[in-house]
């Protein structure tokens, strides 16, 4: 027996970054908004405290902030010839749950994509000729210029610490000269640099590159954002990624939006509300609302005028597929769009070992404390003859020295025992890691669909992920790793250890929670699921937020763009859609 609840103006599914942004924006417009979150209430004041947050067992190894795979998970395979198996442990990526979502446990590396990233297909084809066979890279249907004000808005909300490299076209000394224009300086100055990023920057400069401080959602000083919410200076405790911040120092939904939002009477948050499907109107042209289940097993139907899917990308895709919205993508024919162009991040690293006189103090860290070079990202360099498009940044982030997780040792060290212990002891305080953070271009065989065999706790088919790295990624990553090795050598350490990207993609070792695509945006319904306002081409009152919109994944961390797209969507709903509901882009 399904209980039908009173109709609301807006229902938001998922209460992480984009759910909170949309809720804030639409309640500010005066709309009556209800958000449904599958997890429970968690915030700094009630749960995450300096007394308990630095707990590696509880948070990193017992997954306290991550989604519970015993309820729902996905199946995985590298290619369509294989039979996918369920992911029974978290590994490669760590989707969040509870209020704030994965926005609680990110590092805070807050980037803008390059202007050319948004026109990856046309730009690369114009410069280098046709794309490689099987590559399904697309233009986004939106430009950097359209998103610029929304990037700025998010950076102001978060109090991003950084140094601008291009203000209205004027290149700024000390910033990233390759970045797209920005309308103003970052709201806070960069974090205070420690020895390792300084050494990296010096070596990079000597090689002719342009290092700059990574843009950080970790506060370099106390900050009050435009909503009046306050953040405190970062203490460089080194517990950001995989952890909540106990000091109100990392921008998360709970430290930037939720305190102001919860005071608004036209907002309601329901936790432990697991949305099972979107309900379509009888004529199939609108979303009627959503159906969700409570922990007691009660099924509720929440009708709404506007439905916003703001869950993690795998869940947004899953909801679209299980609700029968849009045509599922078929890799054999290339037809269909839902689940198309799943992409990821392609990372590699180089470790530099110094002697005992060089004190790195790795326990002094912050999620986005580091120096970065962007010379080899996107199309910032000539790719002629290199065998790939796209790129990534090379950076030295001093994020942490967490003792259980972080103990790099030189090549050839035994994996356990006295030899390993000795190497850990000698290396812990004297090691610097350099990372490359590469793009993953979309490919015909990388996609998401429903698994034919396995179901979740609610009886729905699991999502099936089919993904592998392609030649483009290996060529790109090797090229970036070569550059990183050159910088590492110029830093003058005792020895280095390379961690190149090799072999098939594996969901076991942690890489990054930068899953993208599946509900991609574009300029027409044949190639994409949503238009540039993230409005469904199929149901005009359905909007989808998150990195599912990315037609391919550029060489930066996604959160900045995910949030900018959410603000762009909110703006379109407020200023266009409410005045004249209907498709915002004609198909």
């Amino acid at each position: 027996m399904v209980k039908i609840l009173p109709r609301r103006e807006v229902v938001i599914v998922g209460f992480g970054w984009t759910g909170a942004i949309l809720a804030e924006q639409l309640t500010a417009e005066g709309l009556d908004v209800v958000a449904l979150e599958r997890g429970v209430w968690r915030d700094t004041s009630t749960e995450y405290a300096v007394t308990n947050i630095q707990d590696e067992v509880r948070y990193r190894y017992r997954d306290e902030l991550f989604e519970d795979l015993s309820r729902e998970t996905l199946t995985f395979r590298n290619d369509i010839s294989q039979t996918a198996l369920p992911m029974r442990m978290l590994g490669s990526f760590l989707p969040g749950t509870n209020v704030g979502g994965a926005g609680v446990h990110w590092n805070g590396q807050t980037w803008r994509f390059l202007p050319s990233d948004f026109v990856a297909k046309s730009h690369n084809e114009e410069r280098y000729g046709p794309l490689a066979d099987g590559m399904t890279v697309q233009d986004w249907g939106i430009t950097y210029d359209e998103l610029e004000p929304h990037y700025t808005r998010f950076e102001d909300l978060c109090g991003i610490s950084g140094k601008a490299g291009n203000i209205n076209g004027q290149i700024q000394e000390g910033g990233n000269p390759f970045e797209g224009w920005r309308s103003k300086e970052y709201p806070n100055p960069p974090l205070e640099m420690v020895l390792a990023p300084k050494m990296f920057a010096k070596a990079a400069t000597e090689l002719g590159y342009k290092p700059f401080p990574g843009p950080a959602a970790n506060m370099s000083q106390a900050y009050t954002n435009p909503l009046g919410v306050q953040m405190a200076p970062c203490t460089y405790c080194g517990f950001c990624e995989k952890y909540a911040c106990g000091n109100y120092s990392k921008a998360t939904p709970a430290t930037t939006i939720i305190p102001a939002l919860m005071q608004r009477e036209n907002f309601e948050l329901r936790t432990e509300a697991m949305v099972l499907r979107v309900i379509k109107s009888p004529d199939g042209k609108r979303a009627e609302g959503v159906e969700y289940i409570t922990p007691e097993g009660e099924i509720l139907h929440q009708p709404a005028d506007i439905v916003i899917l703001a869950a993690y990308i795998t869940h947004n895709v899953h909801l679209m597929l299980t609700s029968g919205i849009g045509t599922p993508y078929d890799p054999r024919t290339g037809q269909g769009v839902v689940g198309k162009n799943y992409a990821y991040q392609c990372v590699s690293g180089v470790i530099v070992f110094f002697d005992e006189d060089t004190h790195i103090n790795p326990y002094v860290g912050a999620g986005a404390l580091g120096m970065v070079v962007d010379n080899f990202n996107g199309d910032n360099f000539d790719h002629t003859g290199l065998g790939f498009i796209g790129g990534g940044y090379i950076g030295q982030w001093q994020t942490n020295g967490r003792p259980m997780e972080s103990h790099p040792v030189p090549e050839g060290t035994p994996k356990f025992g006295a030899g390993w212990k000795k190497a850990v002891r000698e290396s812990y305080g004297h090691t610097v890691g350099i990372g490359t953070h590469g793009a993953v271009m979309s490919h015909r065989g990388n996609y998401l669909d429903l698994d034919p065999t396995y179901t979740d706790a609610y009886g729905r088919p699991l999502l099936r992920m089919t993904f592998d790295f392609t030649d483009n990624e290996f060529n790109m990553s090797n090229y970036l790793t070569d550059r990183a090795v050159e910088i590492a050598k110029a830093m003058g350490g005792r020895e280095i250890r390379e961690g190149r990207r090799k072999g098939h993609y594996s969901i076991v070792p942690y890489q990054s929670t930068h899953n993208t695509g599946g509900t991609i945006m574009g300029s027409n319904p044949r190639e994409s699921v949503i238009n540039k306002y993230q409005q469904s081409w199929d149901l005009e009152n359905l909007f989808l937020t998150g990195a599912g919109a990315f037609p391919q994944n550029p060489g930066y961390n996604p959160t900045g763009t995910v949030a900018a797209l959410a603000y762009h969507t909110a703006d379109a709903i407020r200023n266009i859609y409410l005045k004249s509901p209907g498709p915002l882009v004609q198909a």
Partner: protein, 415 residues
Amino acid sequence: MIHPNFPKAAIVAALTALPILPAHAVAQDKNTYSTIERGLYLTRAGDCAACHTSDPEKPYAGNYPLATPFGTIHSSNLTPDDATGLGKWTADDFYKAMNEGKRPDGSGLYPAFPYTHFTLVTREDSEAIFAYLKTLEPVSQKVEKPGFPFPLNERVVMKGWNALNFDDRKFTPVDGKSAEWNRGYYLAEGLGHCAMCHSPKNMLGAEENGAAAYTGGMAEGWFAPPLKAHGNAPGLSDWSKKDVSDYLKYGRNEQTAAFGPMADVISKSTRYLSDPDLEALAAYLTDLPNTQEKDNTKTGSTQEAASSDTGKLVYDTQCAACHGAQGEGVKLQFAKLAGSNIVQSDNPTTLLRVILEGTKAVPTAKYPTPHAMPAFNWKLKNDEVVAVANYVRNAFGNSAPAVSSSDVEKLRQGS
């Protein structure tokens, strides 16, 4: 009639809050909207909801248990219910309760109801409050009888108590003080009843006045700190008027944030006060007479505690992340411990409770972030709590008598 310093925009607010005007200046009809609005404002100024609401669904229906050293008493039902509330009361009855501490039948109210302060409230203000209370939804809520032992359970003993402790006063402006100061005096001493918590009480549970007034007192198991310099604690002597008015309006200022019972006072009462009234309270409270017999600041302290290795270690590892290496705090976010009134109070109860139990700032529209101090009772042993408490009481230029392990243990046991 309006104080010349009041900004024009505040005149409307000021009009609703100027009971010291002659009676003909305010609306006479108790049922006018403006009277009822003024009654709501004054009811909030008196923080009536704090003690007269036990169930948020039934505002002002009373039966809220108040623990006193003599036993537990339950507050009355202020809704206009005939059988259990004020339904059959007249405005005269209400004024008599406010002014004399007497019920309609002439028997004495217990002074957990602050008639010792409300006696200052003018007839006009009393009537406005009564008019507002009459507009509430009547709620049938029986109030439990006071759990006092004999002879205190006999209301007749209040005659004796009143003879000793109650002075039926009228508000008379103090000559030589500004209108603003006098308004602050009226609010603080009358409806605001600040001294109920911030002054010590005698054996009979009555506030001590004179030199002892505002030197701090116990309230709901917390030590309400002195509002004037007392012992090593600076009181409000280093607070500006703006510090006081910001604190009452927003729950925080550049020195600290409100927590515990005071956070409740701010969220239910003072945040609703008009700016002129907040400024008036600030003018009065920052002008409390200094009655310190001698300047004994920086005496009787345990300066050696400031160099305690354990105390400094606990502070540096557990506290400094927010409160700063030098106790400087983060303005408007984490309390400054250097020079803090609560940290240096002779009575360490509040400091120790904050360390043990943690606490939370009250979110207000201007400062919505609910900053919290986490509990350390599970993490620090008694000797570590003692060491860090003595450290903060005597580091960063602070000075205060030592706390002991038994102080900590008593609070852990909840006594």
